[in-house]
């Protein structure tokens, strides 16, 4: 029982970071109907940038977060304007190919800059943990989860309490309608993409402190993030949080009770099964247009 609870704790802590990373993916899909396959690669990129800051200047990953978010925002904006924007309007499968191409390019670039071996960030709190009764909370994960919650709340306020948030939500519900009432959808789309990559950057910055980073692991990350938003329903932010918790806990359970190789397969299995059985996910409603098309 203690072992099970401990597994659940670790799963939820991992899930909080996953939720932060998936929020950008689901936001981008919600506004522009683009499934950003490069999301995993952007996460690993943010981790490597943090790693470089840490190894060159000894900057603590937690302190690097604001800086990384700004940089990732810029990278997201440039990539959107340079590539993703041009694929909008073509068939949705084509946008998947474009973002997949971006993922491959990022993997190649990271391989050239940082090499195809693993890097990890060691801080003084890397191996420390907080003990409560029989349970332990690894300090890195605790901090990461706290930061995830803070950034998610900020994102929630941005979406629900600001003009930009209203514009983003308007563009996601009805693009031409938003255009008619004076929302520049092109600008909103670029901003949304950049914001999505920036929030991902916060999660990515924590990544290097939690586990070793390798360029090739972006497949694993995108699988996990896709599984999360497939579970939660494409475009739903609350859905992404719930999906992230489920994936986090399931992976921990699979590691503890089935075998250490299995977490690799969990996201793919979930994607496969959910998209066949309940394509709209947990939180997504089936809409009229989904049925007719």
């Amino acid at each position: 029982m203690i072992a099970l609870t401990q597994t659940l704790i670790l799963g939820v802590l991992a899930g909080a970071v996953y939720a932060l990373m998936a929020s950008g993916l689901t936001l981008i899909f919600g506004v522009m109907r683009v499934i950003n396959i490069a999301h995993g690669a952007f996460a690993v990129l943010a981790a490597f940038l943090t790693y470089s800051l840490w190894s060159a200047f000894g900057l603590d990953p937690l302190l690097a977060i604001p800086f990384i978010m700004v940089v990732m925002f810029g990278i997201g904006w440039v990539v959107y304007q340079g590539a993703v924007r041009h694929s909008r309007g073509s068939h949705v499968s084509m946008t998947v190919l474009v973002t997949f191409g971006i993922a491959l390019v990022l993997e190649g670039v990271m391989g050239i800059i940082w090499g195809n071996r693993s890097a990890s960030i060691r801080t003084d709190y890397t191996d420390a943990s907080v003990e409560v009764g029989p349970f332990f909370f690894p300090q890195v994960q605790l901090l990461a989860a706290a930061i995830a919650v803070v950034v998610l709340i900020a994102l929630y306020f941005l979406l629900n309490k600001t003009w930009l948030g209203r514009a983003i939500r308007a563009a996601s519900v009805n693009e031409s309608g938003a255009l008619l009432v004076g929302v520049s959808v092109a600008a909103v789309a670029a901003l949304t993409f950049a914001i999505g990559i920036a929030t991902l950057g916060a999660g990515g910055a924590m990544l290097g402190a939690i586990q070793p980073i390798v360029p090739g692991t972006h497949y694993q990350w995108i699988a996990r993030l896709l599984a999360i938003i497939v579970l939660g329903g494409f475009g739903s932010l609350p859905g992404a949080v719930i999906g992230a918790m489920i994936i986090g806990v399931t992976e921990m359970l699979a590691t503890t009770y089935v075998g250490s190789a299995w977490p690799v397969a969990v996201p793919f299995l979930i994607i496969f099964i959910v998209l066949i059985v309940r394509p709209q996910g947990i939180m997504g409603a089936r809409l009229r247009e989904d049925l007719v098309s």
Binding site: L97, V98, F100, G101, I112, A223, A265, I271, L275, V292
Partner: protein
């Protein structure tokens, strides 16, 4: 004029001769390549052949059917693994025995993947194919007793002497497989099967409503798409003499195959082959001279982005388009007149509206359908008398189109019964209903845009048989029938025009001709008079009357009140998903419930003198 025509025919014959000559020379070079190339070039050629086979197969589901898949590389690996596993346990048996086994295994697994398309399309499907590839890789890694895990399997040496034959056996077998897969692709394109696949690509829902049994078509397409690449996998395995999960199931293989299709031209016969023969040498160059690894990722990732953004159509279609532009420069295309239709004599006007019979051709009882919290159809009950022109009217959002979708099978009802000619049909798939005699048009016309008008009209199928799949796409008698219907609606001048290039009104007429091919008992028209000019509205009314005289029963959804009240009897009024009134046009116009919910009070004032001759009124 005739000089120009003769010249263009001559030009065309000459360019075809040149094209065939070039193709023959290229084919000869490919077949005899081991005589020319050195070892490294030979290796590139073998890889190019393998990827060309993969691309040619993938073209069947991606180019023809419209399902983009990133799992084609998995079937190459599956083919190799099947041969490796069988060859290891029975080393004395010739690899040629394993080749068909591997092909069939790959085809079966591909059909399993094809089943997924029953529920998911577009981007979801692409994601599923990525997941499929990684899951297959996971199985190959974890199922150690059979696959030997990450260590991989070494093939037994082939039964022939490598020193004597060199790479010739591999090369020739691959050339044969490529020729076969091109032949199959060519055969598909000119049969009913191919037309059905393209109809599915253009509009899967519409394809179902004109009687195309999409799931069977798609399953066969998926099977065929993996058959030859599975067999090529066996050759690949024996050629490398080793398989392991990392190399065999690398996602870059799938990426190269998808790129080959996009680069060469999706849906063209030879485009995918051309794409593979361009990309594989690029890959070899990146590997040998640029350091491989990360550079390969940059090259193919970059190509993927650039191609989709800059050349989404691919080489062959782009070149064709340029040639076509040059050829037709200065000539004028068909313009949008409908003189042919206006020249047709109108059927004599009716003495009175069609009589209402007692037997119901279609009876709908207690139909319900919700979208989330919204009850779009809520206990809808009505009948369509045999031989009538029945109208279904009601305010916007009252559920008319949803009722249409429920009857034609595009949506399944949450509750209720639909009986056509004494048979319950609410559980049938759209094509099943089309086969039983329901033909429908759509509010926003849904023709297969990339097909010609004639192809659109011959696409509907009145039943499903396996042997029908192999029939020619446009047979003589069918074409005759189709032309007859096109003439009937006045569109025969446009038979070779691309459906997407027609005006909205013209598309409505073609869509009507299209469903007539189904020889439906019940013709359901969704706003036949919506968005077209007054002359055309009158003609549309004439066509409906004429068909009705020939015994067709109609169910119309329409907002144009003069049109409805002058043409239809009985009328059913829908509001908030229920039928709130039924009766003759005269009765409906007086019904207080209808006036309240739909027509409005001023309708009465304007039409006080009208007694069923409301066709002259101004409507709402």
């Amino acid at each position: 004029m005739s000089d120009a025509a003769a010249k263009s025919v001559q030009d065309e014959r000459r360019s075809r001769l040149i094209r065939n000559g070039v193709l023959a020379v290229l084919a000869l070079i490919v077949v005899l390549f081991p005589l020319i190339g050195d070892a490294s070039m030979e290796n590139t050629m073998i890889l190019a052949l393998i990827f060309a086979i993969g691309a040619s197969g993938l073209n069947i589901i991606t180019g023809y059917t419209g399902y983009l898949s990133l799992s084609q590389g998995a079937f190459l690996g599956i083919g190799a693994y099947v041969a490796a596993i069988l060859g290891r346990s029975m080393p004395d048996i010739s690899p040629f025995v394993w080749m068909p086994v591997a092909g069939l295994t790959a085809a079966l697994l591909a059909m399993l993947l094809g089943l997924v398309t029953y529920r998911s399309r577009g981007a979801s499907f692409v994601i599923i194919t990525i997941a499929f590839l990684f899951l297959v890789q996971f199985v190959a890694t974890q199922w150690v007793p059979v696959t030997n895990g990450t260590a991989g399997i070494t093939f037994p040496l082939p039964t022939w002497s490598n020193a004597v034959w060199g790479n010739w056996p591999f090369h020739l077998v691959l050339v044969g497989l490529l020729a076969l897969s091109i032949l199959v692709s060519w055969w598909i394109r000119r049969t009913k099967f191919g037309t059905g696949l393209i109809a599915i690509r253009e509009d899967e829902g519409k394809a179902g409503s004109v009687g195309i049994n999409a799931p069977i078509y798609k399953l066969l397409a998926f099977g065929l798409s993996a058959l030859f690449v599975g067999m090529a996998g066996t050759v690949y395995g024996y050629y490398l003499s080793f398989v392991d999960p990392i190399g065999m199931f690398s996602i870059l293989n799938s990426v190269i195959i998808v790129l080959a299709i996009i680069l060469g031209g999706r849906g063209t016969l030879l485009g995918p082959v051309l794409g593979a023969f361009i990309l594989v040498p690029v890959d070899a160059f990146a590997n040998n001279y640029l350091g491989g690894g990360n550079i390969r990722l940059l090259v193919f990732g970059g190509l993927l982005v650039l191609l989709v953004v800059l050349l989404p159509k691919g080489i062959i279609p782009t070149v064709q388009l340029l040639l076509e532009k040059r050829r037709t420069k200065g000539t004028v295309g068909l313009t949008g007149s409908i003189t042919a239709l206006a020249d047709r004599p109108l059927p004599p006007p009716r003495e009175k509206l069609a009589p209402v019979g007692d037997t119901m051709l279609l009876q709908v009882t207690g139909l319900e359908k919700s979208f989330g919290a919204l009850k779009a159809v809520d206990g809808c009950t009505f009948g369509v008398p045999e031989g009538s022109i029945t109208a279904l009217i009601g305010p916007n959002g009252s559920g008319k189109t949803t009722v249409f979708n429920l009857i034609s099978g595009l949506m399944t009802p949450d509750a209720g019964e639909i009986v056509l000619d004494g048979e319950r049909i609410e559980g049938l798939a759209p094509w099943g209903r089309a086969h039983r005699g329901i033909g429908r048009t759509f509010q926003m016309t849904r023709l297969f845009r990339e097909m010609t008008v004639l192809e659109n009209v011959v696409a509907p199928l009145r039943d499903f048989q396996f042997r029908q799949l192999g029939l020619g796409a446009v047979s003589g008698s069918e074409a005759e029938k189709a032309e007859e219907f096109l003439e009937f609606v006045g569109m025969q001048a446009y038979r070779d025009a691309r459906a997407g290039s027609l005006s909205y009104g013209q598309q409505k007429l073609v869509e009507l001709a299209q469903i007539l091919v189904l020889d439906p008992k019940l013709i359901m028209l969704d706003e036949p008079a919506g968005g077209i000019n007054p002359t055309l509205i009158e003609r549309m009314g004439g066509l409906i009357r004429e068909l009705n005289d020939q015994g067709k029963t109609f169910l119309l959804v329409e907002h144009n009140m003069p049109f409805v009240l002058g043409l239809c009897n009985p009328v059913r009024v829908l509001a908030r998903g229920q039928v709130i009134a039924e009766g003759s046009p005269a009765e409906i116009q007086k019904d207080p419930l209808v006036l309240d919910a739909y027509l409005g009070d001023d309708y009465m004032l304007e039409n006080r003198s009208g007694d069923g001759a409301a066709a002259k009124g101004e409507g709402r």
